[in-house]
């Protein structure tokens, strides 16, 4: 297997809030291989979005990387240690090599500029094309993301487009410089399900045609099953399980992953059978238990779970952070 595009290890991110420090990411580790899609899945507060901001070098002012490493291998094969990169280095990477799309396209697009101007700005920053070639390239991008009547839409403002169209524009904006790594943070969460199907289909097609790697952040296990080659499950600021998608869905081994999969209503369930839910809730960041953060909600927890737990190799290409992990007979 080729060297990974992105290798995150032992990543710690700390936020200062009201004179105390809270640790949002505790030794996060995952690997994204070239041309593949890694889904980072977790519920609110699991740290999946903070992870993506750390990779982009866009942590808010009160947050900082306090340990670990984020290694990005660029198109020339050059490896950048993002945690140590200067702001100039990051600016050269962002947009050109690493691009990002967000959940809410309305608030990520500038309402005062046409979509053509906003996509063109990326080329202005990261290429030496003249104005006419930039416009041509922007138009090509809008057609690539299947915006109907692209030649007239190019001069539209964001508010003149529907939610689905705006997300297509965001994708065009992210892809215009042909990035190697696309970070998609809940890109379809705000969309209706029929529009979500369109956007997921588009992303799969673009990946096939352009060959970028995708870090796909989502809370939706259905979307994970559709998009991911590999999956990293996050809980309370740590990765608790990483495996290939087939392996993860068919042999979930961390009690949290298993609980999560059992909590989802799915088609064809026998009548009268109740959903299993996970009791309790995620502990607040400032009151994390020592040892396994999931232990207070876990039926299998015992004394050993109060000790430090880390991701360990569990099966081929399958890592779990649990003392009691076991292979289920079937996923669900």
């Amino acid at each position: 297997m080729s060297e990974p595009v992105l290798h995150v290890s032992d990543l710690r991110v700390t936020f200062r809030a009201r004179n105390r420090a809270v640790t949002a990411l505790r030794d996060v580790a995952f690997t994204l291989d070239a041309g593949r899609t890694l889904a980072l899945v977790g519920e609110s507060g699991s740290g999946k979005s903070v992870s993506s901001l750390a990779i982009m070098g866009l942590l808010p002012k009160n947050g900082s990387v306090s340990g670990g490493s984020i290694r990005y291998r660029g198109s020339s094969g050059r490896v950048t240690e993002i945690t140590a990169a200067s702001e100039d280095e990051m600016r050269a990477l962002r947009g050109a090599e690493i691009a990002m799309i967000f959940q809410e396209p309305m608030s990520s697009l500038n309402p005062l500029f046409t979509v053509g101007d906003q996509i063109g700005e990326m080329l202005l920053l990261h290429s030496d094309l003249d104005a006419a070639s930039r416009r041509k390239r922007v138009l090509d991008m809008l057609e690539l993301v299947e915006i109907p009547a692209a030649a007239s839409r190019i001069d539209n403002y964001p508010h003149e487009l529907s939610g689905g169209m705006r997300q297509r524009v965001m994708i065009a904006l992210a892809m215009v410089c042909n990035p190697k790594l696309l970070i998609a943070d809940e890109p379809t969460t705000a969309l209706d399900v029929t529009i979500q199907a369109q956007i997921l289909d588009l992303m799969r097609r673009l990946q096939k045609e352009l060959g970028m790697s995708i870090l796909f952040i989502t809370h939706d296990m259905g979307v994970v099953a559709e998009m991911a080659d590999d999956v990293a499950v996050m809980y309370a600021g740590a990765v608790v399980e990483q495996a290939g998608a087939q392996e993860l869905f068919h042999r979930p081994s961390h009690p949290y992953t298993r609980g999560l999969l059992h909590s989802i209503p799915r088609p064809g369930r026998a009548e009268g059978v109740r959903l299993q839910s996970i009791p309790g809730m995620v502990p607040p960041l400032h009151a994390m238990p020592t040892g396994c953060a999931f232990a207070p909600r876990c039926a299998r927890a015992d004394n050993i779970c109060a000790g430090p737990v880390a991701l360990r190799d569990f099966a081929a290409n399958h890592r779990v952070a649990c003392f009691h992990a076991e292979h289920g007979v079937a996923g669900v």
Binding site: T194, A197, S263
Partner: protein
């Protein structure tokens, strides 16, 4: 009208030709257009549709939180739209709503006990002491604790706040509850807790519920019958099981096939709809779905489809039902 197969003869709620239009600067929005269906006693009816389908407006119009432009809502034999103010006030005790957003729907300045007891006070039910006892019993029924009544909403998590909203809705011992996207804002592990609570309550209190949601998997899990809306109109309705296993309307089929299933399968045939939902300011003539329908023909533009029976208590609003639908 459909008989949903429940033993009780008269449905708790009968909706007949209900429409709601809003006048705006840019024209008339046809939010709900000529909607008719029944909600059987003791059932959970799922109302599904995407943004702009009119499902929330319909839920509000049923409770007369907004006045319908046309049509009837017959609740336990009474037409709500012709009731006097006093009559409506009485009927409202029996109908409650649980909202999507448990943050903005709970008054941040009131203690949880006062939030839950507000309906009792407004309807002058009980004494302060008996109301306190009711509040404690309700908190325990929804899985919270008696001493939570002295706290404020911000001290609770999203799932707990939704439980508070449910306790408030139950305080007046309603017969009918509208739950509008009541679990959409919750994480799945918490969502499962709240869904199971709703099922428990239905059993324990024999509640009738209208569950409005865009998440089709959740609706399938919870609901006995389903009403699918698109651009202000019902396109299909019927008992949950047959509707999910063999959807009749082209929109229902596309909608169900668009739902991502949490199981990685390499091959799954799916209909991906082209384009966006048209503006409710100018809905298409005839069948509102025809502009995105892969099966639309000339006749679909001419007149709105009448309901066609596609099985026991099942209706499909499509001109081409006979050509397209193969019964299971």
């Amino acid at each position: 009208m459909p008989n949903m197969g429940w033993p009780v003869s008269e449905p708790l709620l009968q909706i007949r030709g209900l429409s709601k239009r809003f006048e705006t600067a840019r024209g008339t929005v046809h939010a709900v257009n000529d909607v008719s269906f029944d909600i059987p006693r003791g059932s959970i009816t799922g109302l599904v549709g995407e943004s702009g389908s009119g499902k929330t407006t319909l839920g509000r119009a049923l409770l007369r939180l907004t006045d319908p432009s046309e049509g009837q809502t017959i609740f336990d034999g009474q037409d709500l739209n012709t009731l006097s103010a006093a009559g409506l006030r009485n009927a409202r005790k029996r109908m409650q709503i649980i909202f999507q957003d448990p943050v903005s729907s709970l008054n941040p300045r009131l203690r949880v006990g006062d939030i839950i007891a507000e309906g009792l006070r407004a309807h002058r039910i009980g004494t302060p002491r008996s109301r306190r006892e009711t509040v404690v019993a309700l908190l325990e029924e929804v899985g919270l604790q008696a001493d939570h009544r002295n706290r404020f909403p911000h001290e609770f998590s999203g799932g707990q706040r939704q439980r508070i909203g449910i306790a408030r809705a139950l305080a007046l011992e309603p017969d009918f509850i509208v739950a509008d996207e009541s679990v959409s804002a919750l994480d799945v592990s918490i969502q499962a807790q709240v869904l199971n609570l709703l099922l428990d309550l239905r059993e324990r209190r024999n509640l009738t519920m209208l569950f409005i949601a865009h998440d089709l998997s959740v609706v399938e899990y919870l609901c006995d019958q389903i009403v699918v809306m698109y651009l202000g109109r019902v396109v299909e309705s019927g008992p949950s099981r047959p509707l999910y296993s063999n959807p009749a309307h082209p929109y229902t089929r596309a909608l169900l096939s668009a739902v991502p299933v949490p199981d990685p399968q390499p091959l799954r045939s799916r209909t991906i709809l082209k384009g966006d939902i048209p503006s409710p300011l100018a809905p298409p003539s005839g069948c509102v779905f025809r502009t995105r329908c892969p099966h639309a023909i000339d006749i679909c533009a001419q007149e709105a489809p009448e309901p066609v029976s596609v099985g026991p208590a099942r209706q499909c609003y499509c001109k081409r039902t006979e050509d397209l639908y193969v019964p299971a």
